[in-house]
């Protein structure tokens, strides 16, 4: 329970302490390697994880469909 409150506190603190970055200042953030998600090359690796592991979701991958039963 304490961990949940700590995560919540850190999340709120992080989001409220940030500054507004103007569009012309986003050069580094727009670098193709800075993307907050998986690159297309990761796609089949994520699929293999979703078939072999119980955990799915929260990573942009699919969360249903397909059996992955082989």
């Amino acid at each position: 329970m304490k961990l949940k409150y700590l995560i919540l506190f850190l999340t709120v603190a992080t989001l409220t302490s940030c500054v507004v970055v103007k569009e012309y200042e986003m050069v580094n953030l727009n670098d193709s390697d800075m993307i907050l998600g998986e690159k297309s090359i990761e796609r089949n690796i994520t699929t293999f994880h979703s078939y072999r592991e119980a955990a799915v979701g929260a990573n942009g991958g699919k969360t249903g469909g397909g059996c992955g039963c082989n």
Binding site: L36, N44, I45, E53, T63, G66
Partner: protein, 452 residues
């Protein structure tokens, strides 16, 4: 009098004219601003983009669910996918995604291990028809952006098919950017309607179904059963439901924290309903005397699992731009479901820019999970239990993955043939191993082209 009337008429005309002028001015302003939008609005996607990804995958292990948690798990898979993104006017993008996967699976081959060519054993692949199959999938996605590019609506339909499984899905999503594009929130929902073709282990089939597993060739009376007399009808009853539906809801929040750091949080909630077990996964009961043909143990029953499952996952990503050479990316996810499984996933990637066009991507990923309350290993379940599985994918384990990628990026597509320019080439290798005998390797290759 006439002069007064004429004056009034002139005033009225002037007033009418004024109204017309005002209305016309407003109309012009609106049209002008509209035409300005059309003239200067940057297209969401400038040209057609083609993404081609192919991969080779293999895995090894000795806990095959098809053989009740024992035997070879060997799989070789080759997958090829193509994604074509087409701009639709200025504000829309339509994506067509097609994939084909061709695999050979030693464990699936043991749905029918009695090939007559070799001695039946769970540790070798059979030559049964289930040793290989093809999976195909197609999806169509449409994204529509608002004029200021701050609102995005997406919709998607998908179909997938393999010999014993088919899936149809559709999804809807909405994304909003605000706070000068520093904050992004999104919501997505997906529904999948899946259907099984019920393939049971060969020794449990009572009716000749003429499927491709050559069950017409199998007659238990042609074999010598070692151990107890085989009578699966005591425990095995055919399944009645062949459908599996999945409903998912995803929430996302992305936030820019500084000029060099941004983060995102994701929450996914999934409900699955229907046949959630696999019809050809064998179960051996501890309290039932074993029966064998050759070296292969005959199934007492198939895997049985509840008809509903609720899954929840929360994840966080961070990307930090250290300098023009180094970037640091992290991912953490916590997952829990009502089958008793909870898991943690942590990954760290450190892209290193070797030059303006070449980047290498060393990465490490750690994963662990607790076991499902329905899991027990080979020959440990009791016949009195309601639900049971010996699928090691639902067991407790930890896994490590090491990967290395190399990327070539040409922002201006200098290399081009006809009107097709090369944008990126990626290659990535990953090695995955559990704290058991299970290991997997995957090599992926991707190329992105733009049509000018």
């Amino acid at each position: 009098m006439e002069g007064r009337l004429a004056g009034v008429v002139v005033v009225i005309k002037i007033l009418k004219m004024k109204k017309i002028i005002i209305l016309f001015s407003i109309l012009l302003t609106v049209l002008n601003s509209y035409s300005q939008d059309n003239t200067y609005k940057k297209r969401v996607l400038e040209g057609i983009e083609i993404d081609m990804i192919s991969s080779l995958y293999n895995q090894k292990g000795d806990s095959a669910a098809v053989c009740g948690g024992l035997g070879t798990e060997e799989i070789q898979d080759a997958t090829a996918t193509i994604v074509i993104s087409i701009p639709l006017r200025d504000d829309g993008v339509i994506k067509f995604d097609a994939g084909i996967s061709s695999y050979t699976s030693a464990s699936s081959s043991n749905i029918n291990p009695f090939s007559k060519k070799n001695i039946a054993t769970p540790f070798n692949a059979s030559s049964g028809a289930s040793k290989e199959d093809e999976w195909t999938s197609y999806s169509l996605t449409y994204l529509h952006y608002s004029n200021d590019r701050n609102k995005i609506v997406n919709t998607k339909i998908s179909v997938a098919d393999e010999y014993d499984y088919s899936s149809f899905g559709f999804g809807l999503g909405y994304t909003s950017l605000f706070n000068r594009k520093n904050t992004e929130v999104s919501i997505n929902s997906n529904i999948y309607f899946d259907e099984w073709k019920l393939l049971y282990p060969i020794e449990l089939r009572t009716n000749k179904s003429n499927d491709k597993d050559d069950d017409d060739d199998f007659d238990i009376n042609m074999y010598t059963v070692i151990g107890a007399a085989y009578s699966p009808e005591k425990y095995f009853t055919p399944l009645t439901d062949r459908k599996r539906n999945s409903y998912s809801l995803s929430f996302g929040l992305s936030q820019i924290l500084s000029k060099n750091l941004h983060t995102s949080f994701n929450l996914d909630v999934v409900k699955q309903k229907g046949l959630l077990s696999t019809p050809f996964h064998r179960i051996y009961f501890k309290d039932v005397v074993n029966s064998f043909i050759e070296e292969f143990q005959l199934a007492n029953d198939i895997e049985r699992l509840p008809i509903t499952r609720y899954k929840t996952s929360v994840g966080n990503r961070m990307s930090l731009y250290i300098n023009e050479y180094f970037i640091l990316k992290s991912f953490y996810r916590y997952y829990a479901d009502d089958w008793g499984i909870s898991s943690n996933t942590i990954s760290i990637e450190a892209p290193v820019k070797l030059s303006s066009k070449f980047t290498i991507y060393p990465a490490y990923r750690f994963y662990n999970q607790t076991a499902s309350i329905y899991f027990d290993s080979y020959d440990k379940h009791l016949s009195t239990e309601l639900y049971y599985t010996s699928d090691n994918d639902l067991s407790a384990y930890a896994a490590n993955q090491y990967s290395l990628g190399l990327s070539y990026t040409d922002v201006f597509s200098d290399i081009n043939i006809w009107r097709i320019g090369l944008k990126t080439i990626d290659i990535k290798y990953a090695h995955y191993s559990r704290n058991s005998t299970f290991t997997a390797n995957i090599l992926t290759f991707g190329i992105k082209l733009v049509v000018e």
